[in-house]
């Protein structure tokens, strides 16, 4: 017998994903899947979402050619998919808004969210303000300190930001606390998970709401360049902007790359590169590649970017990587900072630290002979100014 879900809940040859949730959350997850399916089938929901993405979020986002940076690196052409130009400044709003509309349809007027970099928290707070929903965001205390502008933005939008003291005070602990809060209030609250993680149906739901990135980008590059690029590349925390950009290119013959956070060293606890030292495990409701110790306890992680500082890779992206559809690379903290400097100086665009991990790989791709690259610029770097200042001696 099965749990009663109707959408596929496992990914790839190793059947990653699943629904490893406490019993209290099973019925809410079943209800969420049903609501998601009915919303996708409902022209009124699709029209409302499309309208909001256009008029509130600012979609379609531009595909910006970056000729100076391309020339400097020895690439023939470089295109940036500008999620940094969305309202609130990162791809997170695509999912947050779509889920907030879904919650409203379900009659749930209380929203719970977790956030790492604060971009998902800000996006959720903005969507809730716009739709008249109440919003509580759980955020680790370390992240609150390093992404302080986003904490202020959430509060301005009327959200309650709940500091999470436990553990390292980063995204993992924020997800723990959000799951607990949802279990206590699941009769009236919807949990807007911010990445392609967690128990089914969240990974599928989030990926579905993010593929607008790749769908737009694919059409735009065909129109602007007349051909597909050789490489499509994005950074990967939980994997939502990565899947959003890469999934629409799965049928194409080109190189798809996800970049993980290499942190400041190769040992467990010094990075968030799940492909280097991660083993199959279960965290936050799904089975996937997980950084963990010999006892099955989740390992500590480190990254200069709060949004990539998470011990598990979303199950669908992990499956695509293990099955050879997506290649994985890593960029260290220092390399990410150099990546950001490259873009700032050559093109006048300040990227988020997360997105800078993808930028950091550009010199390597050029050295490997790539000619045309499409890069997912997942967010803008205003939230990271203090890190850029202190680490670049500005």
């Amino acid at each position: 017998m099965t749990l009663g879900f109707t959408l596929p809940d496992r990914f790839g040859s190793q059947a990653l994903g699943g629904c490893y949730a406490p019993e209290t959350l099973l019925q809410p997850l079943l209800d969420l899947e049903a609501a998601f399916r009915s919303a996708l089938d409902d022209p009124a929901y699709r029209a409302e979402l499309k309208g909001e993405l256009r008029h509130f979020v600012g979609r379609p986002t531009p595909l910006t050619p970056a000729p100076r940076l391309a020339a400097q690196l020895g690439l023939k052409a470089l295109f940036l998919k500008r999620e940094d130009l969305t309202h609130t400044g990162a791809h997170k709003i695509n999912n947050a808004l779509a889920q907030a509309l879904l919650a409203k349809r379900m009659g749930k007027h209380e929203i719970i969210a977790e956030t790492g970099a604060g971009q998902h928290g800000v996006a959720t707070a903005a969507a809730c303000a716009r739709l008249g929903l109440s919003c509580t965001v759980y955020m680790g205390v370390t992240d609150m300190a390093r992404q302080a502008p986003n904490v202020a933005r959430m509060r301005l939008f009327g959200a309650k930001v709940e500091p999470v003291e436990a553990g390292q005070g980063t995204l993992k602990e924020a997800v723990n606390e959000a799951l607990r809060a949802w279990a206590a209030r699941c009769d009236r609250a919807h949990y807007i998970l911010g990445s392609a993680l967690g128990p089914h149906p969240f990974p599928t739901l989030v990926r579905t709401f993010q593929t607008v990135i790749g769908e737009e980008a694919r059409a735009q590059i065909l129109e602007q360049a007349g051909a597909l690029p050789e490489v499509v590349i994005a950074c990967a925390g939980g994997g939502s902007n990565g899947l959003g950009l890469l999934v629409p290119f799965l049928g194409d013959t080109l190189k798809r790359i996800a970049v993980e956070a290499g942190g400041h060293g190769p040992d467990l606890g010094e990075h968030a590169a799940r492909l280097d030292g991660g083993r199959m495990g279960v965290l936050h409701g799904c089975k996937t590649l997980l950084l963990q110790d010999d006892h099955g306890h989740t390992a500590e992680t480190a990254s200069i970017s709060a949004g990539l500082d998470y011990p598990a890779l979303g199950p669908e992206l992990a499956a695509l990587i293990l099955d050879g559809q997506v290649e994985v690379r890593r960029a260290s903290d220092e390399e990410a900072l150099s990546g950001a400097r490259l873009l700032c100086q050559a093109e006048g665009i300040l990227p988020a630290l997360e997105s800078s991990h993808a930028l950091a790989l550009l010199p390597t791709l050029a050295a490997e002979g790539a000619a045309t690259v499409l890069l997912g610029l997942s967010g803008r770097g205003d939230k990271d100014l203090s890190t850029y200042q202190s680490r670049s001696g500005l």
């Binding site: 017998m1 099965t2 749990l3 009663g4 699943g18 629904c19 490893y20 949730a21 406490p22 019993e23 209290t24 959350l25 099973l26 019925q27 809410p28 436990a166 553990g167 993992k172 723990n176 799951l179 607990r180 279990a183 206590a184 209030r185 699941c186 009769d187 083993r279 199959m280 495990g281 279960v282 965290l283 936050h284 409701g285 997980l290 963990q292 010999d294 006892h295 099955g296 306890h297 989740t298």
Partner: protein, 251 residues
């Protein structure tokens, strides 16, 4: 009927204290205890058990050490191992069975393992004498409850309480003492379930004072005392001292 199901966190106050705690529970006439395996990310636990798990991990209570410290213990009620899935998956079924064999563990309560998600793992453990305890939450519909009880079946009246009971979660949320649990919804839930099954029921989450424990017994179910006990033990109180007054009905 088993009057009380206490919950202990392995390694808190210490692993060395565990044999004595189990012996005291046995001397009180209890049929079973739940023993928590400390986990790094206890998503179904409130602040008291989170803190206890954290202390236990700091003191080195790894899953392997916990199970090794239970080896050879016979002066104990049956132990229900309360745990999250990942540590068990990392040990693997074969190694887990080997570690469990010399212990008083008779069943597993895996908080984040719904039936059907790891069928081979679950079947192998059940065949070896370690069935998974069915969990029923306030959000579980009666249809789902019927399905869960069928998927994790009653081994029958000959089997001990630890292998037969279903765990009824008394309220939404996570473990913890909470305040003023409204007993009405759980009373109705227990009545519905008793019409559905002849297996014993335990009711937990948010219970601690003698009056609510008595109220659960009056429904025909075994109350679980968790966070309140763990907190008292961490504060230096004895198991007998905390539990004895809670075994007599408060009328």
């Amino acid at each position: 009927m088993n009057p009380l199901l206490p919950f202990l966190m392995a390694g808190d106050p210490s692993l060395e204290a565990l044999p004595q705690l189990l012996a005291e529970a046995k001397a009180l006439g209890l049929e079973a205890v739940e023993l928590g395996l400390p986990h790094s990310d206890p998503i179904a636990d409130g602040p008291v058990l989170q803190a206890a798990a954290h202390r236990a991990i700091q003191r080195g209570a790894t899953p392997r050490r916990v199970l090794q410290s239970l080896a050879g213990i016979t002066d104990s009620p049956d132990v229900v191992l309360f745990t999250y899935l990942n540590p068990l998956l990392q040990l693997g079924a074969a190694e887990l069975k080997r570690l469990l064999a010399p212990t008083p563990v008779r069943a597993l309560l895996v908080v984040d393992l719904p039936f059907g998600e790891e069928p081979a793992f679950e079947a192998e453990l059940r065949a070896a004498g370690y069935p998974m305890v069915p969990l029923l939450a306030p959000t579980t519909t009666l249809d789902r409850a019927r399905q869960i009880l069928a998927e994790r079946p009653d081994p029958g009246p000959g089997a001990p309480f630890a292998q037969r009971f279903a765990y009824v979660v008394a309220r939404l949320g996570v473990t913890g003492t909470g305040q003023g649990l409204d007993l009405k919804p759980v009373s109705e839930r227990v009545a519905d379930l008793l019409r559905m099954t002849s297996r014993p029921l335990a009711v937990g989450f948010g219970l601690s004072d003698p009056r609510s424990l008595t109220a659960i017994r009056r429904l025909g179910a075994t109350p679980v005392i968790g966070s309140a006990l763990v907190q008292e033990l961490a504060g230096g109180h004895g198991l007998r001292e905390v539990l004895a007054p809670r075994l007599v009905d408060d009328l």
